[in-house]
Amino acid sequence: MIALDDVYKSFGAKRVLRGVTLQVPDGENTVIIGRSGSGKSVTLKLIVGLLEPDAGQVTVDGAVVQHLDREALTELRGRIGFVFQFAALFDSMTVADNIRLGLARRAVPGDEIERRVGESLAVVGLEGSEAKYPAELSGGMRKRVGIARAVALRPRYILYDEPTTGLDPVTSADMNELMVKTRDLGVTGVVVTHDMRSAYAVGDRIAMLHDGAIRQVGTPAELQATDDPVVRQFIEGRPDERTAV
């Protein structure tokens, strides 16, 4: 299980997270929603130890991430797949090599690697793109290679940072389906998004990050029924009220 306990994180004078507490139950998709700049990507990076909290604790399977030594951290990362907001594909490598890299590290046998490369590209609708370089792909295609790269690892957890942003509605729906299927295979997901349609489609629970803390957590139905004005405004997509124009 992944748990954040009263986590604080600042960048210089910018206080991004101010006491985030969140449990991610195993076998579920937990969606994190929140305004742009609210710290959603930062939260995901804390979970894999790419960033360290200033205070509080992030625990994965009972281990406090910031206290792990390098070896244990590497081992932990072996259990987590990460889909980057901007794909972060290795641009000197082909699509297939991008996917192979993580598999090779996990000592997956060669023929199994090739099978998984083909399979994971197929589930994101990119079969036949093995030999292409990231620069030859559209933004949405890159994003999907990023998803394939994480899914191919068959990790215990996958952290998706805005998996459907920039995708057309049909492809978005495909990716939502993929995230649900992946969960049904027993993978625990954390999905950062501001696409509410996607949040409802994949989320077993939805947590809203606001002002550096979790404003509300609940099932999609509970969120839709909320009377918290901040949450309502977000999920209904209403503009900020201006005091003066």
Partner: protein, 230 residues
């Protein structure tokens, strides 16, 4: 500490080393040869000018040989490669850093020092001396050709001068120096690159910084080796 641990991780950097050696080393030969040719020519002309009348002309061979092997070969090659190799490494790793490719590598359970830094630093440490050895040979040859064609000097006289003061130490002194230059240049490139912040501008700044630091490191190391080994 960090470096020692990453160095032990042969499985990760081993397969990458050869590729980096070719990219950082072999591809740098043309620029090194270019510099060496002109250095050899100038040294021959300069020494004959300095020696006019006072010193026998065959000393041209000694001066060209000593200077190319011990100082100008390693240092000028090092400087040229500091630009080429240092900038190349810093720009590449800097771009990877700001586009989160370094983060991605880490989430795939790779260690950035084992995977990115060690193969580059090792490759540069091994290849700078190879390129420098080329430069030495080419520089001396250029000096010799200049001497027999433009100066009033024959091949036996040039060789006499070359041999007269030659010690085996001259060559390995030059090569040891250049290995240390390679390590320093690559290390600066890696550290600056991985330390890049922001975007294109940050990568540009890191690249400039890496080249400047690489050149400075070469000069400091050059003095250091002169103090320690001579």
């Amino acid at each position: 500490m960090e470096a020692g641990r990453a160095l032990g991780d042969v499985r990760t950097w081993g397969p990458l080393l050869f590729f980096q050696m070719r990219r950082l080393g072999v591809d740098s030969v043309p620029i090194a040869v270019f510099i060496a040719v002109f250095t050899g020519i100038v040294l021959a002309l300069l020494s004959s000018y300095i020696f006019t009348g006072a010193v026998p002309l065959y000393f041209v061979g000694a001066l060209v040989g000593k200077t190319v092997m011990m100082e100008l070969g390693p240092v000028l090659t090092g400087m040229a490669l500091a630009g080429r190799v240092g900038a190349n490494i810093a720009a590449e790793l800097g771009t990877m850093k700001v586009t989160e490719q370094v983060d991605a590598l880490e989430t795939l359970a790779y260690d950035k020092y084992s995977y990115l830094v060690v193969p580059r630093v090792l490759a540069a440490t091994l290849m700078f001396p190879v390129v420098t050895a080329f430069a030495m040979a080419v520089g001396v040859t250029a000096g010799w050709i200049t001497a027999i064609n433009l100066l009033d000097l024959s091949t036996p006289e040039f060789l006499k001068g070359l041999r007269m003061f030659y010690q085996f130490k001259d060559i390995w002194f030059g090569l040891v120096k250049s290995a240390s230059f390679g390590a320093a240049v690559a290390l600066m490139g890696c550290l600056r690159g991985l330390g890049s912040e922001g975007g294109a501008q940050g990568v540009g700044a890191a690249t400039t910084r890496a080249v400047v630091l690489g050149c400075e490191a070469i000069l400091v190391l050059d003095a250091f080796w002169a103090l320690v080994l001579l």
